[in-house]
């Protein structure tokens, strides 16, 4: 500590080994995450915060489910559809999951074409992603309608613990809101890609900043996150 050093020892001296080197790397000049733009860093940190929100929702749901003394309705039966003369358990949820995961695939392709500066394909794939997302929300609306007509309410349901309905509507509702917001932003970014705003450097209406193709990737981060959250909801709410 007491030796004579110059200003930028970081740049001139080799990294110290072990934990000190680890810390020196992280705390190095100007940026902690090299090559990561502000927007991407911000999205990652937001997603971390959002993870805590969904984590709290799911933990609360599990607490309610484990501590209730009334039987919990059987999800396989509740979420079954009567198709082709027989009850198929979780069929709608399976289709919804398939649709949402497919939309992650199209999103990933959009990001790829975005980096190749292929405006047309990027925009089309983003619109396709938005369409799949809207389909998901639509099927969710169908599912809600079906359950509501069967008598499921946030305060009661015909089969058991009242918390079944309240956690179901709250968690899927909150997730569906995330998907809806995602669809809206997908459409906005797709429009910008289509018009070539990112090539001409047109300034944003609200922020008056120039956009970049990276917006497609940041949008993708959010979309994959929403998809991942659904996997957890699917596992913990429907399959448990």
């Amino acid at each position: 500590m007491a030796e004579t050093t110059l200003g930028h020892a970081d740049q001139t001296a080799p990294r110290p080994p072990g934990l000190r080197g680890f810390v020196a790397d992280w705390s190095s000049d100007q940026r902690a995450f090299k090559g990561v733009s502000w927007g991407k860093a911000m999205m990652w940190i937001f997603l971390l915060s959002d993870t805590f929100i969904f984590g709290c929702f799911l933990l609360s749901y599990m607490t309610a489910r484990m501590s209730t003394v009334v039987p919990w309705p059987n999800p396989s039966e509740v979420f079954a559809l009567h198709l082709f003369g027989q009850d198929i358990p979780l069929i709608l949820i399976a289709i919804m999951t398939f649709v949402l995961i497919s939309s992650s695939g199209t999103m990933a392709m959009a990001v790829n074409f975005g980096y190749r500066r292929d405006r047309r394909k990027t925009a089309i794939l983003m619109l396709l992603t938005a369409a799949l997302g809207a389909t998901f929300v639509g099927m969710q609306a169908f599912e809600w309608t079906k359950l509501i007509t069967e008598g499921v309410r946030p305060w009661e349901n015909p089969w058991g613990a009242a918390q079944f309905g309240s956690t179901f509507f709250m968690i899927t509702g909150f997730h569906g809101t995330h998907v809806t917001i995602g669809v809206i932003f997908l459409l906005i970014v797709a429009r910008k890609v289509w018009r070539g705003d990112y090539e001409t450097g047109a300034r944003g209406f609200f922020t008056s900043r120039r956009g970049q193709y990276e917006s497609v990737e940041i949008m993708g981060l959010y979309w994959h996150f929403v998809d991942l959250v659904w996997v957890f909801i699917f596992a913990f709410f429907y399959l448990w």
């Binding site: 200003g7 740049q11 000049d29 995450f33 709290c56």
Partner: protein, 590 residues
């Protein structure tokens, strides 16, 4: 070192961060009202926070009037008392302290101290303030709603928070409270993301994390914690809102209320307590860590000495931040949880005392043989150390299960948390305002008024809260609007309650002097110049005072050293600014 070059200036690293695409305002509205400049947003945040804090201050006077002279004031009914208490607590903790430290000081100091032109996303930063203002307005509107604001206590525990016996429970009060909190969290997230990314990704050349002033470290860590802790409160608020409006039963068990079976069934009030305190305990440190950081800088600057153990100070901040997420159930020892849980949470709670003690020792060792100037910021910093140690020591009592159980829900707890997270951080707020007001306005605050404010506040805080410990130890419960003729309460308690009330009103008056000083000095204060405290950190080296839009003129400063080069032997002056390219003569982390 491997290769030594004679001048640091030869070692300017290449710029990794591009110039910021700044928004330049064209009209009065975009310059002063809907401003995207972090400095204006900071002043808006601080002004709003202090205005609503003033409401909370007046509420505390009303409560003290009732406790000191029960039965004298007809308009303070028990219901009104509960409403005052709830709103006082909620406003002070969230809408004043959190908003002021992170939204106010965070916005002003982070870009200036790390050498950035602004926050990374100024537009989102601006939205953050306006949503915060909306949250405050919703909160204030509950005072005028039918049934008045909620009287559930600032912890909002169900089931009583939404039952008809509680003021606002079946009226608008609790709904507006919850909506306001949800809005606050949304707004804060927008700002908080900005603060974190600015610190991580937008520092100027040479500003490594380990060269940042501790102020930035404190605010940064607190913001990260807030981004992870507020989600729990968000979820709790949403669920309670559902219980209250839709009639779900997340937190509401089956209860008989006013002779009638409530519509709820099977919910868990304890689950709310867990969610609330998973937010609530980190919240204590969200308020405390910025105070820790700021006070370190105040002490170092005004004692003209480098901070003792900079690296340990950083690690202590980070350590406290991490540990504070695993101590929450020490607020719930009397909730009937498993004794082994109590054992676990008592242990983690006491472990937090270690990094905290490191910080206190380092502050004292920084003062040791320093060239202490008893300026106003220094006086408040010293007051912080004393009050914080006091409040921290009673924390050791309450952290132990066996000692906490008899003390729980007594005035001892009230005295403890006011001392440790009320008085102590507020001392830092005052010190910081006296310290940075010259940079924000270009003028010094009036010294005489400041000294009056300091002595009345500091001595007064002790006169209020020291007797309160005793009152709690003899068993006076908290949250009782009056004690009546209770056999176990000695007459001395009543005398002390009157005494505390008079002390509280006096301290309240001193705050009016402070507020007057803030406005008076705007015109009449002494001219401050660019660097009145002869401080090293970047905000004192700006292109002008107050700093212009973009903060640093044409070129961003380049940083060559840490922020604590005070009284360096051989240097021409007793401080070397961070952007001074002279070789470092001694000390300091690389």
């Amino acid at each position: 070192m491997v290769d030594v070059t004679p001048h640091g200036a030869d070692l300017i690293p290449p710029a990794e961060v591009g110039e910021m695409d700044l928004y330049h305002p064209h009209s009065w509205w975009t310059k002063y009202v809907f401003s995207q400049d972090a400095k204006v947003i900071a002043i808006q945040y601080s002004g709003t926070a202090m205005a609503i804090g003033l409401v909370a201050l007046v509420l505390s006077w009303l409560m003290r009037l009732q406790l000191g002279f029960p039965g004298t004031f007809d308009f303070i009914t028990p219901e009104a008392y509960y409403q005052f208490m709830t709103m006082h607590g909620m406003i002070m903790v969230i809408y004043l302290l959190t908003a002021l430290f992170l939204g106010g000081f965070g916005n002003y100091l982070i870009p200036l101290m790390v050498g950035a032109r602004d926050m990374v996303f100024p537009y989102v930063n601006m939205l953050s303030y306006w949503i915060y203002l909306l949250a405050v307005l919703v909160l204030v509107s509950s005072f005028f709603a039918p049934g008045g604001p909620t009287g559930a206590g600032w912890t909002l525990y169900p089931p009583q928070a939404i039952t008809s016996g509680t003021p606002g429970g079946q009226d608008w009060g609790i709904i507006l409270m919850l909506v306001s909190l949800i809005l606050f969290i949304i707004g804060f997230t927008m700002g908080g993301l900005n603060y974190v990314v600015t610190v991580l990704q937008a520092r100027t050349r040479g500003m490594t994390l380990m060269r940042m002033p501790l102020t930035v470290w404190g605010i940064f860590t607190a913001t990260v914690m807030a981004l992870l802790a507020f989600p729990a409160l968000f979820v709790a608020c949403v669920m309670m809102l559902f219980d209250r409006i839709i009639g779900s039963s997340f937190f509401m068990p089956a209860i008989v209320e006013m002779g009638e079976q409530s519509p709820h069934n099977g919910g868990s009030p304890i689950m709310f307590q867990h969610l609330f305190w998973f937010f609530g305990h980190p919240e204590v440190y969200i308020v405390a860590l910025p105070a820790f950081g700021i006070v370190s800088d105040l002490i170092s600057t005004h004692a003209r000495k480098n901070i003792f153990g900079y690296r340990m100070m950083v690690w202590a901040i980070v350590g406290i931040g991490a540990l504070s997420f695993v101590v929450w159930a020490h607020h719930m020892y009397v909730s009937g949880m498993h004794p082994y849980f109590g054992f676990f949470f008592a242990t983690t709670t006491l472990i937090i005392a270690v990094p905290t003690a490191i910080k206190v020792y380092n502050w004292v060792l920084t003062l040791w043989r320093g060239d202490i100037h008893l300026t106003l910021p220094m006086l408040f910093a010293l007051a912080f150390i004393v009050t914080f140690v006091n409040g921290g020591l009673t924390g050791l009592f309450l952290g132990n299960v066996v000692v906490d159980v008899p003390l729980s829900d007594t005035m001892f707890v009230v005295a403890h948390f006011h001392m440790v997270m009320g008085v102590a951080p507020i001392m830092v707020v005052f010190g910081a305002i006296y310290h940075w007001y010259p940079k924000i306005t270009g003028r010094m605050l009036n010294e005489a008024m400041g000294r009056f404010h300091f002595w009345v506040t500091f001595v007064g805080a002790y006169l209020i809260f020291f007797p309160m410990h005793y009152v709690g130890l003899v068993g006076v419960p908290r949250r009782y609007p009056e004690l009546g003729d209770t056999a176990f309460i000695p007459p001395s308690v009543h005398t002390l309650n009157e005494f505390i009330t008079i002390a509280a009103l006096t301290v309240g008056f001193a705050q009016m002097v402070f507020l007057f000083n803030l406005f008076w000095s705007l015109r009449n204060g002494k001219d401050a110049g660019d660097n009145p405290w002869r401080a090293t950190s970047l905000e004192w080296q700006t292109a002008g005072t107050p700093p212009p839009h973009g903060n640093f003129g044409k070129e961003l400063p380049v940083v060559y050293r840490w922020a604590y080069d005070y009284s360096v032997p051989g240097a021409p002056e007793d401080f070397i600014p961070q952007n001074d390219p002279r070789p470092m003569t001694q000390g300091g982390p690389a």
